[in-house]
């Protein structure tokens, strides 16, 4: 496990040096995006008014207070990344995003895009919004303010972290490691309780499996229509 202090924008080499389990502290700028912002860019075909090239995306919907022309922080925290998962490969390939900061990880498909283009997933401590808010020095700009609290937020950060490299650019995911180990532990728990596999078949109501994304595109980019 290594500790890294990184300055944004990030280049491909810096990202490829990171290994699953390492810890990162970030300085510079990150862009806060979430559900509606992604829908606006990809499903409604709007071109973002700012370049994300080399920057990390933070999955957030901040509480802000507008004082005159300035946006002041109330509380800024991080949300579950999986809801934004289907946009991740395009953000990497077409917009040059190098890192995603969020909680609970992304899909296999996103992991493949990270490996291919050199990007990573940095797990922040979900719920620790007090610390995160203090590590964000300033909300420098809010693009598409009509979407607030789901606009594009340009945030200047100083020492954002600890961030844990949970999915790296080498195809390694800590979530997979933990999930596989948990499956083995489950088998042991079932055995101790005398539960056999029959129970799952008796209960039509519930079969444990990874929940599929709500919507999956057949073809890459098929959803983005006639813009750019």
């Amino acid at each position: 496990m290594e500790l890294h202090e990184l300055q944004t924008p990030l280049d491909e080499n810096a990202v490829r040096r990171l290994r699953a389990g390492d810890q990162v502290t970030l300085h510079g700028h990150v862009f806060g995006l979430r559900d509606k912002t992604h829908i606006e860019i990809f499903d409604r075909g709007q071109t973002p008014p700012v370049s994300f090239d080399g920057y990390p995306v933070l999955h957030t919907a901040p509480s802000l207070r507008k004082v005159g022309e300035k946006w002041e922080k109330v509380i800024i925290g991080t949300t579950t990344s999986m809801r934004m998962d289907r946009y991740v490969p395009d953000l990497i390939e077409r917009y040059g995003v190098r890192a995603f900061i969020g909680k609970a990880g992304l899909s296999e498909r996103s992991l493949e895009a990270m490996q291919r283009f050199g990007a990573c997933y940095l797990a922040i401590v979900g719920g620790a919004a007090g610390l995160e808010t203090l590590q964000i020095e300033e909300v420098e700009a809010v693009y598409w303010p009509h979407l607030h609290p789901e606009a594009i937020y340009q945030l200047r950060v100083s020492g954002l972290g600890p961030l844990i490299v949970a999915m790296d650019a080498h195809g390694e995911s800590l979530y997979d490691v933990v999930r596989n180990r948990a499956q083995r532990n489950l088998s042991e728990i079932y055995r101790r309780w005398g539960i056999d596999k029959k129970i799952a078949s008796q209960t039509a109501a519930y079969v444990p499996k990874e929940q599929p994304p709500h919507f999956r595109r057949e073809k890459r980019g098929a959803v983005v229509k006639g813009t750019k």
Binding site: V125, G126, G127, A129, G130, Y175, N185, W193
Partner: protein, 328 residues
């Protein structure tokens, strides 16, 4: 009179509603027995507003202590870092008067009505809703509730069907107790229920709980509280699970049968190794609380309501003479 009802449906409704206005219910025989003075429900509205803000800023001591204990015994280095970060963030929120988490949640109230409290359910519901709205707009913090189809957010935290109110009645008590849980969605979205059959037995229920935790992984911001409802009907099993989440850590179910089940599930869930934020570790939950009720002879229902580590909760006890005690 009958003519009036038949011919003036609309007016009749107004008449009925009018009977419940502030001025008229003060004349209604719901007065505090000790003082004889009617309780000012405006006081309750203020209490609720302050309760919501306090719930978002302070972590209950039982949750904080459980997180500290989890940190002290954690053997996995990444998990230790995460638990340390959680404790640091909570302390910084206190110091800087920041909210603990940006998810201000759906307001869930558990209201315990004492048998000797001057209770007016209609006005109390109004006070809960107004208090939650005022907290949201006067602080102001992000209103996290919206219309399910149009997705419009009025930034009030309340609306049709919200806040959620769970009722309890305590015949011998003089007071009214309001517990507010601002329930975040990261954990709420990982909750689930199943209607098993009697043939599936207790094993199916236990399996459902551990499977649910593994399926949820890091999404519900573990280590939190697992509220489990057992028995009842389709809708009531979910309410039981929510009431289980409302119970402070360290208090076991009064029934030894269910207390033992809580301990067994807690031990099993922590053996999955999901760990803090789903990145592996010794602590996956701080506690498992089970609430139960009788069910149908053909049924075997279970519900699991997940609560994140930021298991926020604030409680106020209101006495008929207007005294207010604050707690968690």
């Amino acid at each position: 009179m009958i003519d009036f009802i038949l011919n003036n449906h609309h007016d009749m409704k107004n008449v009925v509603l009018k009977q419940r206005t502030h001025a008229e219910s003060e004349a209604f025989p719901f007065a505090a027995p000790e003082t004889g003075a009617p309780l000012d429900y405006g006081v309750i509205e203020d209490v609720v507003r302050d309760l919501y803000i306090r719930a978002l800023q302070e972590l209950p001591p039982d949750v904080l202590e459980a997180l500290e204990r989890a940190h002290d015994r954690e053997s996995h280095p990444t998990a230790r870092t995460i638990l340390q970060t959680i404790l640091r963030s909570v302390a910084l929120s206190q110091e800087n008067k920041l909210l603990i988490c940006q998810d201000t949640g759906l307001p869930i109230f558990q209201v315990t009505v004492g048998g000797r409290f001057p209770f007016d359910g209609h006005r109390l519901k109004g006070a809960l809703s107004e208090g939650a709205r005022r907290a949201t707009q006067e602080f102001p913090f992000r209103g996290s509730s919206m219309h399910p189809l149009t997705r419009e957010n009025p930034q009030t935290s309340v609306g049709p069907g919200l806040p959620v109110v769970l009722w309890e009645f305590l015949p011998e008590a003089d007071y009214l107790e309001i517990l507010l849980v601002p329930k975040g969605s990261g954990s709420e979205n990982m909750s689930g229920m199943a209607l098993f059959t009697p043939a599936d037995g207790l094993e199916a229920l236990k399996k459902f709980v551990v499977d649910r935790v593994v399926l949820a992984g890091g999404k519900p911001c573990p280590p939190g509280i697992l509220g489990v409802g057992i028995g009842g009907s389709f809708e009531s099993v979910g309410i039981l699970a929510k009431k289980a989440v409302c119970r402070p850590l360290g208090i076991r179910n009064a029934d030894p049968l269910f207390a033992a089940l809580e301990e067994e599930l807690e031990e099993a869930v922590n053996r999955t190794g999901i760990g803090p934020m789903g990145l592996g570790g010794d602590t996956t939950v701080l506690g498992v609380n089970v609430e139960w009720s009788y069910t149908h002879i053909t049924q075997n229902p279970i519900a699991v309501n997940y609560q994140c580590w930021a298991a926020r909760r604030a409680r106020a006890r209101i006495w008929p003479d207007g005294r207010v005690e604050q707690g968690f």
